[in-house]
Subunit: 281 residues, 2 copies
Amino acid sequence: MEIIRSISGMREFSSDCLQSNKSIGLVPTMGALHEGHLSIVRQSTEANDITVVSIFINPAQFSEGEDFSRYPRDYDGDISKLSALSAAAVFMPEAADIYPDGYKTYVEVRGLSERLCGMFRPGHFTGVATVVLKLFNAVRPTRAYFGLKDYQQCAVLKKMRDDLNLDCEIVLCPTVREADGLAMSSRNAYLSMEQRLDAPCIYKALKDTGHAIKNGSLKIKDIAAKLHETLSAVKSITEIQYASAYDPDTLDEITHGARVLIAVAVKMGATRLIDNIVVEL
Amino acid sequence: MEIIRSISGMREFSSDCLQSNKSIGLVPTMGALHEGHLSIVRQSTEANDITVVSIFINPAQFSEGEDFSRYPRDYDGDISKLSALSAAAVFMPEAADIYPDGYKTYVEVRGLSERLCGMFRPGHFTGVATVVLKLFNAVRPTRAYFGLKDYQQCAVLKKMRDDLNLDCEIVLCPTVREADGLAMSSRNAYLSMEQRLDAPCIYKALKDTGHAIKNGSLKIKDIAAKLHETLSAVKSITEIQYASAYDPDTLDEITHGARVLIAVAVKMGATRLIDNIVVEL
């Protein structure tokens, strides 16, 4: 497995692949890899000749006061996990290579970026869209893989791909969960024992709400109230940032419809957890 | 000469070129082609196997109240001029293909975009950067050509190219002038006889100021005052938007330096004219 540390090195590597007509799968990550990431890597290695996993903790997607400096880092562990799969290369650029002095160019996906998480993390999705476009230009993937746990991120990136006429298929991968239902996330490592025991309540609330609208005992317009009632009763949850029903395409809050995104962001102390499901009625 | 009217058609055309290892030169224009454009097209046909000229009056780079609807259009004339050169293709997409319903993604080159023309045309350079990135993704040029009359546009696009790691050489082409010195521009067609007779004063003021700082009779810090004095004496000039000395790289206003961008934007009635020179001391 090759470890590539510069954009120019990455471009050389991908030029070679493209010249020999090999398809490239890109799995962008911020490292601290868990089974959620690894299942995505396996999906990529099955569909592409070459899989590149990028590990880059992107400063542009963290706001002031967020957890950039304490975000979990485990480069050695990550590399040994990826070696065990058939990833061809790990792309680990330096921040100074991605954002050199005087860096000024940002990609804004307006509208989609300002809803849900965007209301609580101003600039977050501009940072995400910008770094992903730069990764695309360095890696030139045939397909790029993203986890549906970050549903809004998937929506923003698909919109960017369509709007900018990018030549890359975007593949969305199902959320991988712990045995008790908690969505896997590198940030789960922040949780205290008590918080960790409470955390599966989020997925349970999503699932219960999903069942209730499917069997007709709950209306879409009542989802938000139901989720707030359930989640506010959980001791470890100190803040509910959003919890409601949304249009899966526009992310507008909805009161009716045939497909419903039910999405939640809560804080347990300093730790922010998100999760979502999409229900077809 | 092929006339291509859709992004998908353009991508097909460029895929064929790239597969046969042909270099592609792109000359983005808004049509109403004059000798300034044509000299750029010739520069591209000399350096590239294939030259694509795009003609697209980009609504995203016009502000409310600007001249989008009355911008000169001469598609038949443009096509016959380009046929006479060896341009391989004209790319004339529809606005609905470039900006379909629900379009949301914009590229911002912060800082550079807000100075000079950006102060008077809010959003203009975001519109320019966005459409040029989309043209790059449709045409996939080896080299793209821009005229230095739009100096700030050149600076913004080079910055975007560097920041986003785009795989395209940007070639800047010298301003082409009428016999009396007026920089060629499609907007010159708006000028009345009297305005047209006064218009060469802009380049004359730039040149005189350039000579004066070169021979030491004027200091860089006094350029702005000198230009304002000269230009405000011209009857047809109804507004001086900016006229000063700038750093050619950062576009910061400067009072000293070894390279000086002297740039001017004025209005003659409803018509806005810009021009610039770079002086090496």
